[in-house]
């Protein structure tokens, strides 16, 4: 197996490198990809189209928003998939057998506990900032959502899974995950209902408190980012909770 693998890898590597002659140099601003009209358009017209200085966010949530919607769906699928695979439902309750993990979970260190108590609100606040400020600086729904999810995971690590689940029970995070996608696709459907193509946010100016189509785009992007954040944070926590407790959602690590 090792040899087969090695040969396959060398072969693949050789194949990948064989095209090097034809490759643009590193950092070449005029490579076909970098100088293509598409890329130029994003850089030049983003601000005009939607007034969002962060082109990545604009491309992500607007130009290629369709991709991003499915990305959110991918995240949702990951969570649902893990639940479908791991989750022990109405099965043998976890408390039936003594779980050593559970005992360890009870003896929480006071330093860790206190630090986390202080850290978590800041973390969550920062998460909201990252989500909201994605238009102007690196950030957005995915990044903020992950930070938000991490704050719950931190709770679970510091205090045990059960207290974390008290704050964000299973029913709620599943609902949150679905609602996130509903928000995202809801923006698209709203555009459909107003007679434009799916995710053509410009028409939403009649619904949103905006002055023109560009601002409507900007605001809608924020809206879908919030949807993304919902799903991502919920699913991040769901993945952790299920993996950490072998699907029993009790005890945890």
């Amino acid at each position: 197996m090792k040899w087969v693998g090695l040969i396959a890898v060398i072969f693949t590597g050789g194949l990948l490198l064989s095209a090097m002659d034809d490759f643009p140099n590193w950092g070449d601003a005029h490579s076909p990809a970098n100088a293509s009209p598409v890329s130029q358009y994003y850089i030049e017209k983003t601000i005009e189209d939607s007034g969002v200085p962060n082109m990545v966010t604009a491309v992500l949530a607007d130009y290629r928003g369709y991709d991003t919607m499915f990305e959110t769906v991918v995240v949702l699928i990951a969570g649902i998939a893990i639940m479908a695979i791991l989750r022990v439902m109405n099965g043998v309750p976890g408390g039936a057998r003594p779980s050593p993990a559970h005992e360890i979970g009870d003896q929480h260190d006071i330093i860790i506990g206190t630090t986390c108590r202080l850290l978590i609100p800041v973390l969550q606040l920062f998460a909201l900032y990252v989500i909201a400020h994605g238009h102007h600086s690196p950030g957005g729904g995915f990044q903020g959502g992950v930070i938000l999810g991490a704050s719950f995971i931190l709770t679970a690590i510091a205090k045990g899974l059960d207290p974390a689940l008290e704050r964000l029970p299973e029913k709620r995070y599943v609902k949150l995950a679905f609602v996130g996608v509903v928000i995202y696709s809801g923006f698209g459907v709203a555009c459909l209902l107003l007679g434009e193509n799916f995710l053509d946010y410009g028409v939403l100016q009649v619904l949103l408190p905006t002055i023109d189509a560009a601002e409507a785009r900007s605001h809608s992007m924020l809206g879908v980012e919030v949807g993304v954040a919902f799903t991502v944070s919920a699913i991040m926590f769901a993945i952790y909770a299920n993996l950490a407790s072998k699907g029993e959602l009790e005890g945890g690590l």
Binding site: I10, G13, A35, I47, G51, N54, H136, F142
Partner: protein
């Protein structure tokens, strides 16, 4: 010699790094016996692809694809004025002066694409970890050869 070095190594060093990382990951995925190590290989592989994409969007001397704020504001004003004059902003063929030079900003598209790839990588990893937990529950091991031996034994029994 130095020309060849520069042509094949220096000018494309990002590419070399990405490919070497990819192959490390791929090798681990194919040959490692432990399922978790396979997954680590998978992560390396996917991350190397991300590196490959992002490095392709780099422009020498360019900054991140976020407009500087003052540029953004003036542009926004201009865009706003423009919008008032015409009914649509989207399809307008611009006759205004561009303060934005595309060479100053790195290509945003690979970043966007790789955000997707990251998400996909996370999702795949999560599902794969869940599956390996189930495997562990069923077979009590994460070593591939042991699992296969157990499957064979079970087959021979039944």
């Amino acid at each position: 010699m130095s020309e060849i070095t520069s042509q094949y190594l220096i000018d494309h060093f990002n590419f070399w790094v990405a490919v070497v990382l990819m192959m490390i990951g791929l090798y681990a995925m194919i040959t490692k016996n432990n399922l978790i190590k396979k997954l680590i290989g998978m992560s390396i592989f996917q991350t190397a692809i991300i590196l490959f994409y992002v490095s392709a969007g780099v422009k020498e001397g360019a900054t991140i694809p976020i407009l500087e704020h003052h540029v953004a504001e003036t542009e926004q004003v201009e865009a706003g004025e423009h919008a008032e004059g015409h009914s649509t902003t989207k399809a307008s063929s611009s006759h205004e002066v561009h303060a934005i030079n595309p060479d100053d900003y790195s290509n945003p598209l690979p970043h966007v694409l790789m955000l997707t790839a990251i998400v996909v990588g996370v999702a795949t990893l999560g599902v794969a970890l869940a599956v390996s937990q189930v495997i562990y529950k069923n077979y009590g091991t994460l070593e591939e050869d042991e699992i296969l031996a157990k499957i064979k034994a079970a087959e021979n029994d039944g």
